[in-house]
């Protein structure tokens, strides 16, 4: 090997030794002939000269930069020995300590003068830090790039969304504009058609800038639009302008109900009272500096006047009601009023007392409560059924007159006797809308009546024994065999008959008191009615030889009843017929059967019952012929007793009577009969 002059070689060696890069030289066979200090330091190991570079490289484990192992022929030195020049060829050196060092290598062949390759020079520089920085920089750049892209994408998205929103907003704006237009028209329509008067006043003179038809209607004859308030309403300006000023100044709305004003409806027309319920509100028009006032007003004149009238009427009604209530409450009679549904709507204090209630509690009750609340009984002691209640009957349209009843007071253990009159209440069209009943406490009367009945009963009994004595002695004398002579016998017969008459009167009085006290008992048996009638007629015929009694029909009929009592009825009717008939006319008696009833009739051709007296002949002690030439005496109780007996047999008694034709009395008895027993 030859490098020219030795000095030059030394210079070169010194230069190479001080170089920062590692420098190694190999001969043609690849043996290391030179390595500088930097080279040793960089490789970090002793590099014995003369060693094969390939072996060195193998020891040093030269790799590609990506870490792959590098084949021996691929190494920079191998390539340089093949004549190739490598500049900045990157390589990775895995050091025996395990660390990896990046190198940038240069290799070039060393040639002699003939150009033959005699070795190779290998320069290598540790670029590990540089590579690391480069990589860091690259990563930083990458990150930055990625961030930039993300930001760009985000901005693009925002842009896109904003755009979309703009499109939507645009559409909505169009819709809103449409809607605003519709609302404006609606608003206008509302104002135009509002049933309240609306006026918009502007400026310090309160010019009416907007007036709807309802406002105009307050004074149809006046020009309003564009005119100051004081010109439109000069008659009320003195009162109203201060209010307008106040609202304008303070911004506080003004409200008033039924405000009174005296106005002209027409220019030059009369002043009229008018009432308004109104609100005056400050009104700000957007974009306008001048505030306005809005008057919203409704005329209430008719209502106020009507209310006034109603109040007067109500006062009157209240006064009347108070008067009536006072009258009612001061009545001794109990008064009850019920509505169509049977709810008791009114009672007076006496009525409440009868029910044992406080007056205000009475209207909580209705008719079905009455039997419990007010267990009224008939005079004979049987309870009033619901349908028999006077108010119930009145609701059905019946006029109930003087219905007697009694009620037991559990506190005093005494019976109260009540007499009730009830009538339906009808409206203008005649429909029944309720009923009213007045109940009078007739206990005192009833007690007197009872006292009288008791007296009659006792007196009658006391009479019977002396009558028996009279009758007995008269008969005893008649029975003696001594010849008394016809005249004396006649006298004794008269005594006997007188005793019989007294006895009959006594029996009638007893019957009456028994009927009144509800003590009339019937001994029920089956009766062959026509046979009984024939028997009675025959017996009576004997006592009235001057009259002609005839049985005209005897349809077969068996009834159930008290034989003695039914005979008593027939005897009564026959006695009456005989008493009021001329002797030459017949008295006809018949039994017929009609519709499950047997009907007995007694017809005379005598004095008819005057028409005006016909309604009362069944009343006790009523004598139709009192004070007439036909007054043949009697107590006036026969028909009363007869009808009561018949009705106790579930039958009826009635009559026909016509002047000049006589009378016919009937009584009916059910053919099925009534249940026997006491």
């Amino acid at each position: 090997m030859s490098f020219g002059g030795h000095g030059r070689l030394q210079f070169l060696e010194a230069a190479l030794a001080s170089a920062a890069d590692g420098v190694a030289i190999v001969d043609a066979e690849g043996r290391l002939v030179f390595v500088n200090d930097a080279g040793r330091r960089l490789v970090g190991t002793a590099l014995p000269l003369g060693s094969l570079s390939q072996g060195l490289e193998a020891q040093l484990s030269v790799r590609h930069v990506d870490g792959r192992p590098m084949a021996p022929y691929q190494t920079p030195l191998a390539k340089a020995l093949e004549g190739e020049r490598l500049v900045d060829f990157p390589a990775l050196l895995a050091l025996p300590q395990g660390q990896e060092v990046h190198f940038s290598t240069c290799a070039s062949p060393v040639r002699d003068e003939q150009g033959c390759i005699i070795g190779a020079i290998f320069v290598f520089r540790d670029v590990t830090n540089q590579r690391r920085e480069e990589r860091a920089l690259r990563e930083k750049e990458e990150l930055s790039r990625r961030r930039t892209e993300q930001e760009r994408d985000r901005l693009l998205k925002v842009l896109r969304e904003t755009n979309e929103r703009l499109v939507v907003a645009n559409l909505r704006t169009k819709g809103l504009l449409h809607e605003i237009d519709a609302q404006r028209r609606l608003f206008q329509s509302v104002i135009e058609n509002a049933p309240v008067g609306i006026a918009l006043l502007r400026g310090p003179r309160y010019v009416l800038e907007l007036v709807n038809p309802a406002y105009q209607a307050f004074a149809p004859g006046k020009l309003m639009l564009g005119k100051p308030y004081a010109k439109v309403w000069p008659e009320t300006a003195a009162k109203t302008l201060p209010i307008l000023d106040c609202v304008r100044r303070t911004g506080e709305p003004f409200h008033s109900i039924d405000l009174h004003r005296t106005i002209h409806r027409f220019p030059g027309g009369p002043l009229e009272d008018a009432y308004f319920t109104m609100a005056i509100l400050p009104f700000h028009v957007p974009g306008d500096r001048d505030e306005g006032l809005l008057i919203v007003s409704i005329e209430t004149t008719e209502q106020v006047l009507a209310r006034g009238k109603i109040e007067v009427l109500a006062e009157e009604a209240q006064r009347r009601a108070a008067e009536l209530q006072s009258v009612l409450d001061n009545m001794a009679d109990g008064v009850f009023v019920c509505d169509r549904e049977g709810r008791i709507t009114l009672s007076n204090e006496a009525g409440a007392r009868m029910l044992g209630l406080d007056c205000p509690d009475v209207p909580r009750h209705s008719l079905p409560d009455l039997p419990e609340l007010f267990p009224m009984r008939h005079p004979d002691g049987s309870p009033f059924t619901y349908d028999e209640q006077p108010l119930v009957r009145a609701l059905r349209g019946e006029d109930v007159l003087l219905e007697d009843g009694k009620i037991h007071n559990p506190q005093t253990k005494l019976d109260s006797y009540l007499r009730t009159t009830a009538t339906p209440i009808r409206d203008d069209r005649g429909s029944i809308v309720g009923a009213v009943a007045a109940t009078r406490d007739v206990t005192e009367l009833a007690e007197l009546d009872q006292l009288k009945d008791a007296f009659i009963s006792v007196a009658a009994h006391e009479l019977k024994t002396p009558v028996a004595v009279m009758k007995g002695y008269a008969q005893a004398l008649l029975r003696t065999e001594v010849d008394l002579g016809a005249q004396r016998r006649g006298m004794l017969d008269a005594i006997d008959r007188g005793a019989d008459r007294i006895d009959r009167i006594v029996r009638e009085l007893l019957d009456i008191s028994r009927l009144q006290l509800g003590h009339l008992e019937l001994a029920i048996e089956s009766i062959d009615l026509p046979a009984m009638v024939v028997q009675v007629v025959d017996r009576i015929a004997l006592t009235a030889p001057e009259h002609r009694l005839r049985v005209v029909s005897t349809e077969p009929a068996v009834v159930k009843g008290d034989r003695d009592r039914l005979e008593q009825v027939l005897v009564n009717l026959l006695d009456n017929a005989i008493r009021y008939s001329p002797t030459e006319r017949e008295i006809e008696v018949g039994v017929v059967v009609r519709d499950r009833e047997a009907i007995v009739s007694v017809r005379d051709h005598g004095v008819a019952i005057p028409r005006e007296k016909q309604g009362r002949i069944f009343q006790r002690f009523y004598r139709a012929h009192t004070g007439t030439p036909h007054d043949y005496g009697g107590m006036g109780v026969g028909l009363y007793i007869s009808r009561e007996i018949v009705s106790r047999h579930l039958g009826r008694m009635w009559f026909e009577s016509e002047k000049g034709r006589g009378s016919c009395f009937y009584f009916s008895l059910p053919l099925r009969g009534i249940r026997g027993g006491k």
């Binding site: 009994h461 024994t465 028996a468 004595v469 009758k471 002695y473 005893a476």
Partner: protein, 123 residues
């Protein structure tokens, strides 16, 4: 019936009626004893059982009901009782005190004689 006395006891507080009934029945051939109240009637019965008792109900001292109660408790069976009363429910009263029959006041003498004849033979 055979063993029974043919006499009739009439118990009534009305002296006139008592006299009348006694007169009529005696004239019909009966023996008649009279008492003016229930107490006397019981005494009369204790002296000798009659064939029939005609009994008024309303009497002082001892009325017909008390007499009948006492009579039935002492004498069972005794002579039949026929109630002689002014009450209109004579029949019921007769049943109440277990009497054999009744006659209402006032009465026909023939009816009285007929009823008595039903219970007592003339002696």
């Amino acid at each position: 019936m055979e063993s029974r006395s043919k006499s009739i006891l009439v118990v009534d507080d009305d002296r006139d009626l008592l006299t009348l009934v006694a007169f009529v029945l005696e004239s019909e051939g009966y023996q008649v004893e009279t008492s003016s109240d229930g107490q006397q009637g019981l005494e009369a019965v204790s002296r000798g059982m009659p064939g029939l008792i005609l009994l008024d109900m309303k009497m002082p001292v001892m009325d017909g009901w008390a007499f009948a109660r006492e009579y039935h408790s002492r004498h069972n069976p005794g002579a039949p009782i026929v109630v002689l009363t002014a009450a209109d429910d004579a029949k019921r009263r007769a049943e109440e005190i277990g009497a054999a029959g009744w006659i209402g006041k006032p009465f026909d003498l023939d009816a009285l004689v007929a009823v008595v004849g039903r219970y007592v033979q003339k002696g």
